[in-house]
Amino acid sequence: MTALLEVSDLVVDFPTSSDGVFHAVDRVSFTVSAGERVGIVGESGSGKSLTSQALMRLVPSPGTVSQGMVLFEGEDVMSFSPKKLQTWRGSQTAMVFQDPMSSLNPLMRIGRQITESLQVHLGLSKAESRTRAIELLQKVGIPDAESRLSDFPGAFSGGMRQRVCIAIATACAPKLLIADEPTTALDVTVQAQVLDLLDNMASELNTGVILISHDLGVISSFCDRILVMYAGRIVEQGTAEQIVGDPQHPYTKALLASILKLGEPIPRRLRSISGAPPTAGHRPAGCSFAARCASVIDTCLTIDPALVPAENTRPTNTTATSTTTTFAGTPEQLVACGVAAPAAFAISEGATAA
């Protein structure tokens, strides 16, 4: 089975004030199969949104994709002509953004914002696209859909607007849907409804979904597979069960530890990961998480670990790390940490030890 989306060694660069470049996304590789849900989790500035924007070739200026390949059904997205790119966006792939308040055009009626995609991509007539828009609005649970077509976004609540955005995104039955923090700007009660809706729409259309969130709870309940990003890199990836049940990277562990659990007493201070991620252009020589890591060792400060297959038996049993494991392919847990999987250091040594 060929993957729906194959991303390899994606690098997004931003120029820094001191004439250098900063890899905001650094050699990110992952795959999404048809109908699969992949979650990207990480804190602000970890590069998760940029990764998704790079896939759609929507990296905001002055950022550039300097390296890497994005294959969509085997086709190289980075080499699409502007015309091809435009027809591909919206029909094959779609995006739901974080802030439904500002991602709908405040000066255009909701109906027009839905029908224009249908007209451009599916070639529907005015009347046909209108009928279809009403169906779409009903599907995403907007009551009185027909009369609401002529409303402006200002007449909708945040949750309703995100429903409209989902209707727009799913209008042309895309094969890949990227949802960039779709629930972050919403009330907790509305969050669950919007996620359910996303879930239903994706199941119905067998759409592959990339869900981006800083909320591991949201991600783990929704996704088949999870990528954990830190400082522009994927530090661990695996199935939702592996990441939640058997986290290997200290960052993933720390993220999980900061979630409150039902049944346990609530601590006076919520647990958090101390410190902050490295700022643009100030990535340390070794592991970029080292300064905040609970299990840091000397090697971490000098050698940058690479992503290697993790041993799901605990770190003590790491001598038998096989070098024959292939990188891409079926989901397996990968981790970039020498403490959990010392092989990560062994592989990258020499290459980045400078």
Partner: protein, 310 residues
């Protein structure tokens, strides 16, 4: 909506009353006597006194003011001190078409020169076209209208004979090209800069990114999604400029020998012709107030977020 309009009309009346009163009183604050200006420096005291009596200037100020306001309410702006035979209203009405033509032409040049250039510069931000447009607009902003007007007359009218030298004739559009361009050039440069800034801001906004992610063609993103957003500040500027131009554009009218409201006002001030000064000020104020009212109405047409509440 109805109450909003009614309230606005009330406000407009108050503003106009204030403007007229201020203009009337300010003329009296000037330490000069219209009678002396009329009769010349060698006139005898008796002549001055008789002119005072003739013009009603011997009455106390409050009486003159009340008389003026009373006549104004009946639509009578009085008679010019200098041109005794013509009422002020008639003079202004006669000058209005010229001013209107020049103002409309100036606005058209501003839009034609500024808006497409600004949109293109924003769309191709950072390119050499953007830099060229920004540079030319700097020249346009820096060129004084009297200099630009004389330059245009010298080359386009005098040397090459492409356009008439001055005044108005037939076909009128031929006579209007140079004066309206002179009037609109600086504004066009200003519009280009403003349009560029607003368009850049709009093109960076989340809904434009969403439109891109939706796979909308570039022309749809520019015109359907973005243009309305730059139309609001644009209409504000056009409204302000239009009101301002209708009040008379002294420099352009002088350079091109046009008898518009600007020259009327200028001559009136030179001669201390009180009724004419107040009349032209009143008309300028009316234009600005009315155009502002129309602009506010247009906001609510363009932007559904604007509600006309009282």
């Amino acid at each position: 909506m109805f109450w909003w309009i009614l309230r606005r009309l009330g406000q407009m009346a108050i503003v106009l009353f204030g403007v007229v009163s201020l203009a009337f009183l300010l003329v009296y604050a000037v330490p000069a006597d219209p009678a002396t200006t009329l009769a010349g420096p060698n006139a005898s005291a008796a002549t001055i006194a008789s002119i005072h009596k003739q013009l009603g200037l011997d009455e106390p100020l409050w009486q003159q003011y009340l008389g003026f306001i009373g006549r104004l309410l009946t639509g009578d702006l009085g008679t010019s001190y200098v041109l005794r035979e013509t009422p002020v209203f008639g003079r202004i009405a006669a000058a209005l078409p010229t001013t209107l033509l020049v103002a409309v032409g100036g606005i058209i040049w501003q839009i034609l020169l500024g808006v497409p250039a600004g949109i293109y510069a924003a769309y191709r931000r950072g390119s050499w076209v953007d830099r060229v447009i920004t540079f030319i607009s700097l020249i346009g902003l820096s060129a004084p209208p009297f200099w630009l007007g004389l330059l245009l007359i010298y080359y386009f009218a005098f040397t090459w004979g492409l356009f008439p030298l001055n005044g108005l004739g037939d076909p009128v559009i031929w006579f209007l090209v140079l004066p309206t361009f002179t009037l609109g050039a600086g504004g066009g440069a200003w519009y280009a800069r403003m349009t560029r800034t607003n368009m850049i801001e709009t093109l960076d906004s989340p809904f434009v990114r969403m439109a891109r992610a939706k796979g909308m063609p570039e022309h749809v993103i520019l015109w359907r999604h973005s243009f309305r957003h730059i139309a609001i500040p644009l209409i504000t500027m056009i409204g302000l400029d239009f009101g301002y131009f209708l009040g008379g554009v002294v420099i352009v009218e002088t350079v091109f020998g046009l008898n518009g409201i600007g020259r009327l006002a200028f001559d009136a001030i030179s001669n201390l012709d009180t009724p004419m000064i107040v009349g032209t000020v009143l008309f300028a104020a009316i234009f600005i107030v009315v155009v502002n009212f129309i602009v506010d109405l247009l906001y609510s047409v363009i932007d559904p977020r604007v509600r006309l509440n009282s």
